[in-house]
Symmetry: D2
Subunit: 342 residues, 4 copies
């Protein structure tokens, strides 16, 4: 299997590294418009070919797959050209900059029978998968709400909002955990530093099952916070990606018995042990690369992953529409047929 | 100065304790409908008179002031009778269960020239006052947003929502810090355990100065969290009431220079020292009791405190109205003339 | 049952409070040489008699028991007079300022058949008792070592070292957990601030079972630390008295298999779940007071408690002797017959 | 400048990486006895020559310097051969397995005029250097004591104790900070898992200036702890290498005024702000590599670094001697002339 990486910003070098650790996978090319980035790659990976033109990759008959780690606005064009050239394609998240583009890519992949995959790396995180299992096994009881904060002093981006930058993480995790799309989304935010570039956002999502989700995103925060709380009737989970104990399960809850007499109700509070389950320490990025390779080899061209990736784009679009109205209107969340199946 | 405490639930015993530590202040009575609570008080404070009927207090010509620590729905009636009997009145937060009632109490206090005060204890917290000073001195620069979480597995109340229970803390702090009332409030929540009793709420508030505030309240959370982040252009503050370092000031921010050429902008990030200022360790409840006594002695019948307390009630009402519509409508936040002056 | 409290410094007021919460127990007197402290008690507990002379208590034929919360150097004299007057006696920790005095008190209690008890409150802590159970049940496997830190910027005492002040906590806990006295103790310390008053100490203890214990004590430390680590072959425990999760059990360890061939060995590391068990939130001081009352009522004059209290004094003496030699000599730890039986 | 790396265990690959990032530095060879490790290097750095025999490096007339990242027991032999072949030499810590060997290496470097350097990377850590500056500038006042814990569930090593494994970090930092060698060291430990392999150690060190240091080392601990507390009369510092705020400076202390009358003294406690200074986020390993290259280029053959490295070996030897006697004897700490000059 031969691969190439396009874009050597933040994610490209990481993809390069994990591809080098896959068995029977060769990285034939790296591509970036910046010669300095290419020089960096040459020093680290002297065996890899360099180019500033993705066409060189598309024209290489020996090349099986291209991994795109370029800015969001280029995803659709480059991915469409990759699939059009008959090569499997991995796209960094989010899949595209509009639902229409995302749909077009999914259709193209279906038509060509090529593998299309989106880099929602968190779905390969042992911590995220542990929470998924706790939910599916019913250990949390009835899910009440999920509250997530993803904030720190972060890189403002010229042509994207904090929602396009950070929401793909939380949205993909929520869709994966809940297995359903929200009915609607409502968001309020602020462009604090750069005019018209939203840098903080508070997002509410309401799901058909009754679960309420809240997501706080910010490029302006004093310290890094990656904290998601999942509250169910039986147990509660705190997921903190930055902690040495990323998952903590609290055997705590409230039990409500139906009122025996009119106007009365009975509650009992339960506080039990707290458990930090031992997690596999595999690197999600490596697992993701392995899954991409395996998908190609197994000729399973599309997967649940792409469906989530498409819905994430739709959800971001809905969030941006609500932001424009300062949260005043709830926006139906996911256009088209709900397609999450995990 | 002679005083009496009505209601020996959570706050009453604390008021009893701090009143006993005031100079030249006597507690003549405690009043509760529950004989067991009176017996408890008798064991602890044998010199204090006991009664189950507040009328005994109102009829006592020697009594100067009554402190009410009873359920919210009783505040208006008991406070009105207290002022009507010519006695100074302290009411636990929130001041009343409707804006109309709050307004009536303020008017009654004004008319009688008696001191009326509401137990927004956090306004006496050295930590809260430190943040107020940092804001007023301009050390934080332009304020961007405030995000607050006040959650833990807490006591569900039969006749109140989590908003009536917990929002008085955050709302009073926000009004005190910002010195202005919000333009509107929007809230979404859920009655997870008991039908029609909201136990989680996510509240957005938009202030005239442009500050965006977000408040998360919950009776359903795995661990206690009292965390408020104040983000300004120059510095950021984390206020955590449960920490041994309640205030942490981050010399961190983003500097934006106006674009020199169309479409470009320049940002620089600054990360400097983090300081946990030393705080006075006075007990806010004792300071509050002292201020109530001092207000009576100085014959300053009403204070900024009551204005905040009234606006807090109005803000809770607006929040509840928005909750009823599942956050779909923004509700003008504070009815009547904005009255915060701090 | 009638009681009196002598000494209204730090512990006296707390004893007063928990005695008032015991059923069928009356506090007849408080005694302190400082009239201001007595005035404080009078304001809080008007029904309690006041005196500056302990003889008034000894002469009161109606009085059953005296609780001493006075400086260490007074313990022997006051406790001996209490027992001599035919009254049950509770003494704050440490029991006495020398092993000889401690032995004399134990003998006096035995001879008179009166209850003598020492305020090693930590032995009533649910957290300490949980660790005791984990050890006794074999859940930790073979115990390897215990390392404890008890430090913060603390009150220097005129006539005592940090060892006399803080070691009673750790020493009593160690003797209780291990059920054996150490073979020897070795300590090094420093008198940093006041000449000849040791304010930091590092103490090593070696136990017959092979367990090694280390105790760090300091009045000079930037932040409060109460952290004891218990390491066994199967599990490890972190006990932190200041945490909301005082006990954390780590299912982590090393398994050693006997070498199959000369010079080789095989180790495997195991890292499993971490559990914070739910603990009873009873107040240790109240449990201790109840146990004192129960001991009197059950006419069990002496208990394991006094044996530990006596050995703690002996261990402090040994530590002080080792300190004098700058840790150069290991000092046999507990004079006389090892008497710990828990 | 041409270099080679010997040993591709833990440190070798890191040295390879940072050497590739140095300007005008080429890595000509890597050497390891394990062909799998060489294959790994070949995949990553195809331009680098591979060999299992260090003699190939010694015989290469184009090679300027060799970096040794091999087991401790090989350091002396390989370093002596490197210097003997006229090549500059970098040795991972500790410098050698005996003081005699360390002395011989230092002498050989002096005689040949070649650069000899030891990988005490922590001395290049911005956090360690910040504490050094605080001490030297007198900001901490008179230094009282330093207490350090370096523990976690770690890799047992077949032919080394936890002291040889972990003490080089703490000992090098202590010698660097204090600029003096201890008068004596005393240590107690235990071989808990593997016979005769010490896996926990408690080490006391007494310095001529009066500073007392305590170092706790363990391969058996439930969670990673890297915490060093430096206590002075004016300020105190907590250095935690694993924290996002590695240095915290506490403006806390005790002030002692000379007694005015016999037997009395006056203390006042001061608790002020806590500051986490912003630290340069340079990678210490890269700074160290740069310093090694710069030392060669500037023809400063030996540096303070080697003197510390030699004394660290001497201190480890003294610690091991004290351990053999179960801490019963204090061992003079550093043989020969105290040579630390920083």
């Amino acid at each position: 299997m031969t691969t190439a990486v396009v874009g050597l910003g933040y994610w490209g070098p990481n993809l390069l590294r994990v591809l080098h650790e896959q068995d029977d996978v060769t990285v034939r090319h790296v591509c970036d418009v910046d010669p300095e980035r290419l020089a960096w790659a040459a020093a680290r990976y002297p065996a890899v070919g360099l180019t500033t033109d993705i066409q060189d990759l598309l024209d290489d008959p020996e090349l099986d797959a291209i991994l795109l780690a370029t800015p969001v606005h280029t995803h659709f064009d480059l991915a469409a050209r990759t699939l059009g050239a008959g090569k499997h394609c991995f796209v960094e998240k989010p899949l595209a900059s509009s639902t229409a583009d995302a749909d077009a890519l999914v259709e193209l992949a279906t038509d060509t029978g090529l593998t299309l995959m989106c880099g929602h790396t968190f779905l390969y995180s042992p911590a995220v998968q542990t929470v998924k299992r706790l939910i599916d096994d019913g250990e949390l009881g009835e899910l009440y709400f999920i509250s997530s904060s993803r904030v720190n002093l972060g890189l403002h981006q010229r042509d994207a909002s904090v929602v396009w930058d950070l929401a793909p993480h939380d949205f993909s995790i929520l869709l994966y955990w809940l297995g359903e799309n929200p009915d609607w989304v409502s968001a309020i935010g602020r462009a604090s530093v750069v005019p018209d570039v939203t840098d903080i956002a508070f997002i509410d999502l309401s799901f058909p099952s009754g679960v309420l989700a809240h997501v706080e995103l910010s490029w302006l925060a004093p310290s890094k916070l990656r904290r998601t709380v999942v509250v169910g009737s039986e147990k509660m989970v705190v997921y903190d990606d930055t902690s040495t104990e990323p998952i903590r399960v609290f055997d705590a809850g409230v039990t409500y018995r139906d009122p025996e007499t009119f106007g009365e109700y009975h509650l009992s509070y339960r506080t039990g042990d707290i458990v930090s389950p031992h997690l596999d320490n595999s690197e999600p990025l490596a697992l993701q690369a392995a899954d991409f390779i395996a998908s190609i080899r197994s000729e399973k061209p599309t997967s649940a992953n792409v469906a989530v990736a498409r819905d994430v784009v739709s959800l971001i679009e809905a969030t941006e529409r609500s932001l424009l109205q300062r949260g005043a209107l709830r926006v139906p969340a996911v256009a088209g047929v709900a397609s999450v199946s995990t």
